[in-house]
């Protein structure tokens, strides 16, 4: 049972972080479909840090530097989306999709190159981080508390305050609702949108490293992050682009994702003899159902997905 709670919380943390990232980007008016790719690149940044940092580093420094690596990689990568969609007015769907493919391909190429350079027989795309992972986890009577659970809560509160209680957040949301009106009162729409996308890059990267640290102690980058970026988008839509609802939605989705990890630990579920594939499918099926019932009265930012053109009215 404690295992189920542990996995639910950690997956919910991932989903909260990434969905909040999507929330910032969409409130500024840019649909960030590339979150999946951003997660992969963020995970790569963190994993590379764990690989190259000395193992005897103090846990605090380790956590801080790994997070820094993930955030920096995520931000830099999301700049590709921002540049294409804001400055060049490219189609946000195409660019987002391209970033997803590019993320997995680039991470695979980089990790394979590193592995092969070290040992010519090693053609795997796996990075192992058994030792550094310990810095992130505190064991409380068998329950593995992960620092990311706390980080997710802190970021949730910060996101709420930034969006609703600061000038910056309110201005950003104006750019997602009616950019021309925002511009007419002197807000730079381009700057706000850049800020929104870069924040989503930072949170996406953070979510990425959190995801690969969730259950395992090595990651095969060829597999990307298994559609988690898209689950986060579903969480965001279910959460109606509002931070607190997003957190609740993330708990629900996290629970179903956790179930596929630990269902065999429950006699009741194990005795049903359902193939593991069904549990693997569960989060995706739930999200489809949830979307079907919530999208009708969607409160999406009005101007999302439309490139901002100063000369339009």
């Amino acid at each position: 049972m404690s295992l189920l709670i542990q996995y639910t919380l950690i997956f919910a943390s991932v989903l909260t972080l990434v969905a909040l990232g999507g929330c910032f980007s969409e409130h500024s008016g840019v649909i960030n479909l590339g979150l999946e790719g951003i997660m992969v690149i963020g995970a790569l940044g963190g994993a590379l840090m764990m690989r190259y940092l000395p193992a005897n580093l103090s846990p605090f420094l380790m956590v801080a530097l790994v997070i820094l690596g993930a955030v920096v990689f995520g931000v830099v990568y999301s700049a590709l989306l921002a540049f294409a969609c804001i400055n060049l007015k490219a189609d946000q769907t195409i660019v987002g999709t391209a970033l997803n493919m590019l993320g997995t391909a680039a991470a695979t190429v980089v990790v394979k190159a590193i592995n092969t350079a070290e040992n010519p027989d090693d053609v795997s795309s796996t990075i192992a981080y058994v030792q550094p992972k310990k810095a992130f986890i505190i064991n409380i009577n068998g329950f593995e508390f992960n620092w990311f659970m706390l980080i997710a809560i802190v970021i949730l509160i910060v996101a709420f305050i930034v969006l609703y209680k600061t000038k910056f957040g309110l201005r950003m949301m104006a750019c997602g609702e009616h950019p021309q009106a925002a511009n007419s009162v002197g807000i730079s729409v381009y700057k706000m949108r850049w800020a929104g996308v870069l924040i989503s890059g930072a949170l996406g990267g953070l979510g990425g490293i959190c995801y690969i640290l969730a259950g395992v102690s090595e990651w095969k980058f060829e597999n990307g992050v298994a559609g988690f970026g898209f689950l986060a988008l579903a969480v965001m839509i279910f959460g109606q682009w509002k931070p607190l609802r997003i957190a609740l939605a993330a708990l629900l989705f996290g629970f179903f994702r956790a179930l596929s990890n630990v269902y065999f630990g429950f006699d009741f579920l194990a005795s049903l003899n359902i193939p593991s594939a069904v549990y693997n499918m569960m989060p995706y099926i739930i999200s489809l159902l949830v979307l079907a019932f919530t999208s009708k009265r969607s409160r999406a930012p009005k101007a999302e997905g439309i490139p901002y053109d100063k000369s339009m009215r």
């Binding site: 060049l88 195409i94 680039a106 190159a113 092969t116 693997n280 489809l288 999208s295």
Partner: protein, 386 residues
Amino acid sequence: MKKILKNEGVQSLLASLLCIILGLLIGYIVLLFINPTGAFEAIIDVIKNFFNYAKLNLQLKNLGNTLVKTAPLLMCALSVLFCYKVGLFNIGAAGQYVAGACASLYAALAWGWGWLPCLLFAIVAAALLGVIVGLLKAYFNVNEVISGIMLNWIGLYTANMILTNVKETTSPYTLHLRTANPSAILPAMGLDKVFSGNLYVSIAIPLAIVVAIVILVLLEKTKFGYELKATGFNKNAAKYAGMAEKRNIILTLAIGGALAGMGGALLYLTDYEQWMCTVSSVPGMGFNGIAAAFLGGLNPIGTIFASFFIQHITSGGAYVDKTMYCSQISDLISSIIIYLCGFVFFIKYAFNLYLSKKENKVDTRFTKKEMEEIQDVQNAKGGDEG
């Protein structure tokens, strides 16, 4: 010359070529970073693909292999293209492709069906998957990209579950079609002989090209295609004009699904590949289809060539020196190409701006000359009066 440059099709072609060149260049730079010594050879190996073999018959045989995988890629690209023309982004093509592969393999291996019923079954199964996306979009306002992605994963796990029933006992792969049920293999009609006896070459390739032409005609020359495109341009206007916009959305995704599903069947009914029942990521075919569709300038004929090119470099990735590089470098190149394809409208816009500026310059010069003439005339007149 100027007329040619102003032609929409020519501009698309130039933009696509620019994307390819930039994509290859960036791929080369990445290779340089990994290991500068063999980078140039590696990128040439990728571009050469089957030309890496010296003998003609081996070249033909490997060209055949590339073509075997071009057919399903072309189908996926057509699926993406068709839906995009109606304003829908069918990222679910990847899952529909899986559905087609799964349905055709299961019908062939479990029920012993012949190739034609297998192919039709695959088309129907994948079309149904497309219909789900369409229903969700039309009646529940669910973004087709999100539902498509969710269905990709649901389709993948379902396929794994179903195909586990027809797999080899000792491996995670499905049974060999050639030994288990040869009647399900697509007929070659003598094409195998053209490619030095390549067993996998079949009617899949001409079939895919025929479908591309059918799609072109359907979109450009029929009332049905016009209605679909009108729905894509403006859903509300189409509704106002008396078109059944909900039906059109569902129908479009059904056709998109059918196309991608046919692609899955066209690959797996050649026995070129066996399905691995433990595969944990959605096959890249559907996503590469997006690349091919946009690289082809969203034109069915252009897509034929773009699909071949994408498959050409993807297959070419296998020839890089594995002691230094990995074959995923070609995935990297094709994803960079898609990213750049996002700029196509911008490239065209900048190009047209440049062209019209040039024209304007000529115009001003001409008017200057004219002005002088006018002035001369005026001067002469003035002289007369004076």
